[in-house]
């Protein structure tokens, strides 16, 4: 059984190596089939492991140490994998969602000449993500962590013909790299303190009190920074919307389902450490809260379909961080799973739509599409419902409900004097849920209802339709594994990932549940009034551009929107980038000037010296004779004087 664990990673890695080694001999379609098959094999291997796990054939955690990576006095690192429920859940998400997206991509990328490269990068990404998920050593995890970043870079900039795309790719990499460096510093701090980065050993050291509070808080904050950058949370959020420049399957897999949730996974994995670092938790919760609201507001005023989904991803990740911040890492993980399903579904639907309307991404230029693509419409609506957390029938409802109830009870402690109120956070999260329903149903109504503005061509191929169906199914039913205690006492997920945390579900007021259920419905209703009715308030293309429509007079959101529209951190990042280059250029110039000056001085001294020397070396015999005599005179004088 243990031998199967590395295989999970090996399949996609092998596919990558084959695709790249073939040097273009494996063309798009076969590369796609190869890649999909590899990820499928990976999923199957994961399935076998899970089966063994369920049947008790494998006791967890299952550790496989492949080899020792480095060993120096006072530190050692290994390339080692570990399988426990949390990583099993992540494997399931990565491989199953990954498989469906790969399948979809065979159809989506069929016409692209560089699709072999695309599939090579995608499988490399899956391999790196699996390394990240499986690693039992934080340094080994860091391989996967940076690996996914690299693949993200390669895939965002996949269509490199447009400089905007490569710029977006670089921006994504730079911003996450800043977080990575912070994380690396956190790793160094812990490595110095504990001589190893083995996760189990580390958590043991935390519980045993071997680490000083300063080290724990410091490393927790540094790791948090890395995670925030990876998950595009404030203040690192600006790269994710730009990352939509990549092909849609990439956006679905990397920038919705898996990579951006790596930070959530890391923090869930290290929840023991963070539990001991209360300020980090409070900061996490606050950032999650802030991000989910700001991103939701921003999503509300975007007009680009993929960007709306990107902001929505940031917002949903904010929910996860909020949950992590109040200590409900199970809830965060559960939301991660459901979010992976419905967000992947939404992205794939968006891809299907965009592919058929001639790569138009502006929702105001679409409309009435439900008549041309009923299947896609159904899938999108299911996804939207799950995102908005429509009660009972969607997976998103259960996971969001879990978060909300956890937040209600949570009390993040920033300092002993300053405790965030869980109820306040709950209110914010609920308002976020309202905004979520608003913006996603705004999309639904603008894109699928009303008059046609663009007539779609072609049809959605089955390789693209099948994944949509599967994901729609998952988006509806995956939530059934965990339900609030008031509806049904089903707690399969919590039991699975955290058997020890049984005291997680005390009874709470029913109105909490009701509020959580009604809010999305209300949001959808408002959206219907504003954008959906036969005589809607706004469905014309906004004149102002930049995504604001005349929602603004209707909703008192002007202020928030104004903030988010300007995307301050993005400006800051741009300014920082500009400053970097400017200072670099200045240093170059200064260096040149300094060198020039030095060279001039040297040359001047040299010239002055040379004049004398040249006088001496003019090739005239008489001068030479003169010099000889002068030398003679000097020698004689010296001899006589001394």
């Amino acid at each position: 059984m243990a031998a199967l664990l590395p295989l999970v990673v090996v399949w996609p890695l092998a596919a990558t190596v084959i695709v790249f080694l073939s040097a273009g001999r494996i063309k798009g379609r076969s590369a796609g089939i190869l890649a999909t098959g590899a990820v499928g094999l990976s999923a199957m291997t994961g399935g076998v492991l899970a089966a063994g796990f369920m049947s008790g054939a494998v006791t967890y955690p299952l550790h496989v140490t492949l080899w020792e990576w480095m060993r120096v006095p006072g530190f050692s690192a290994t390339i080692a994998f570990a399988l426990d429920p949390v990583s099993l859940v992540m494997i399931a998400v990565v491989t199953i969602v990954g498989f469906l997206i790969h399948l979809y991509a065979i159809g989506y990328m069929a016409a692209d000449p560089g699709s072999a490269r695309f599939f090579g990068c995608m499988t490399l990404f899956v391999a790196a993500m699996l390394v990240l998920v499986l690693a039992s050593d934080l340094l080994c995890l860091f391989i996967g962590w940076e690996g996914v970043g690299l693949c993200s870079y390669l895939l965002i900039g996949f269509w490199y013909d447009s400089p905007a795309n490569t710029a977006a790719a670089r921006k994504a990499f730079y911003i996450t790299r800043i977080g990575d460096v912070a994380m690396l510093c956190g790793l160094l701090m812990m490595a110095t303190a504990t001589a190893s980065l083995q996760i189990d050993g580390l958590l043991f050291a935390v519980t045993a009190g071997q680490l000083s509070p300063a080290v724990m808080t410091g490393s927790a904050l540094l790791l948090l920074t890395g995670a925030l950058a990876k998950s595009a949370q404030i203040p690192f959020q600006s790269w994710l919307p730009d990352a939509m420049a990549g092909p849609t399957p990439t956006s679905a897999l990397i920038h919705a389902a898996t990579m951006v949730t790596a930070g959530v996974y890391l923090l869930a994995r290290l929840h023991g450490l963070f539990a001991a670092a209360a300020p980090a938790m409070a900061i996490m919760a606050a950032i999650g809260m802030l991000t989910l609201l700001v991103a939701a507001c921003t999503a509300l005023v975007q007009s680009d379909l993929k960007r709306i989904l990107a902001w929505s991803t940031i917002s949903q990740l904010g929910y996860m961080y909020l949950a992590l911040g109040v200590g409900a890492w199970q809830a965060a993980l559960f939301h991660l799973v459901t979010h992976a399903c419905f967000k992947a579904l939404l992205f794939l639907c968006a891809g299907a739509i965009i592919a058929r309307v001639d790569h138009e991404q502006d929702i105001f230029r679409m409309g009435g599409l439900r008549r041309f693509m009923p299947g896609v419409t159904a899938a999108f609506v299911i996804g939207a419902g799950a995102l908005a957390a429509l009660p009972l029938v969607t997976a998103g409802f259960y996971s969001k409900e879990m978060i909300l109830s956890a937040v209600w009870r949570g009390q993040p402690v920033l300092t002993p004097d300053f405790i965030l109120s869980g109820h306040l956070l709950w209110g914010g999260a609920l308002f976020g849920a309202l905004l979520t329903a608003l913006y996603i149903f705004r999309c639904v109504f603008l894109v699928f209802y009303g008059q046609e503005k663009t007539v779609p061509t072609g049809r959605t191929r089955w390789v693209m339709a099948v994944p949509l169906g599967c994901l729609a199914f998952l988006s509806v039913f995956v939530g059934c594994v965990e339900m609030p205690g008031d509806i049904a006492p089903v707690h399969l997920f919590t039991r699975f990932v955290d058997p020890a945390g049984m005291a997680f579900h005390p009874h709470e007021p029913v109105w909490l549940l009701l509020a959580g259920a009604i809010t999305p419905v209300a949001g959808a209703g408002i959206a219907w009034i504003v954008w959906g009715r036969s005589g809607p308030v706004t469905r014309t293309i906004p004149e102002t551009g930049g995504g604001t429509d005349d929602l603004l007079p209707v909703m008192p959101l002007r202020f928030v929107v104004r903030i988010t529209r300007y995307d301050l951190p993005d400006r800051l990042a741009a300014a920082a980038g500009w400053m970097t280059r400017a200072t670099s250029r200045m240093m170059m110039r200064a260096r040149r000037a300094a060198l020039h000056l030095a060279a001039e001085r040297t040359a001047m001294v040299g010239r002055e010296g040379t004049v004398v020397l040249v006088r001496m070396q003019n090739g005239r015999v008489r001068w030479y004779a003169g010099w000889i005599v002068a030398g003679l005179g000097a020698a004689l004088a010296w001899a006589m004087l001394s």
């Binding site: 003019n618 090739g619 005239r620 015999v621 008489r622 004779a625 003169g626 005599v629």
Partner: protein
């Protein structure tokens, strides 16, 4: 024979040498430079001979002979070069014009 004092010989040699030196330095014509050189060589020879006479040693005159041989060959070669230069379009025999490493 009237004796020539040793110190006087040295004085004479030094003056002769300086005159020859000044000649070498001041004349630009190669012929005159050669002549001045000969004067300097003679000055050196004079010192040798005077020293030989002072210490009653034949070595001084041997050295004088050597200087003579040196002067002979030097003059021969020098004059040959002068002739060569003259034939190659340097009729002025200006020593200062030969400062470039070209024929």
């Amino acid at each position: 024979m009237t004796a020539f004092p040793f110190n006087a010989a040295l004085l004479l040699a030094a003056l002769l040498f300086s005159i020859g030196l000044a000649g070498v330095l001041v004349r630009r014509n190669l012929v005159f430079m050669l002549m001045s050189l000969d004067i300097m060589l003679n000055a050196a020879g004079l010192v040798f001979v005077a020293a030989g006479a002072r210490w009653q040693d034949a070595s001084g005159q041997v050295m004088f002979l050597m200087i003579l041989a040196l002067a002979a060959s030097e003059t021969a070669v020098g004059l040959a070069i002068i002739l060569c230069l003259h034939a190659h379009g340097r009729p002025s025999l200006d020593a200062d014009t030969g400062n470039l490493l070209r024929g």
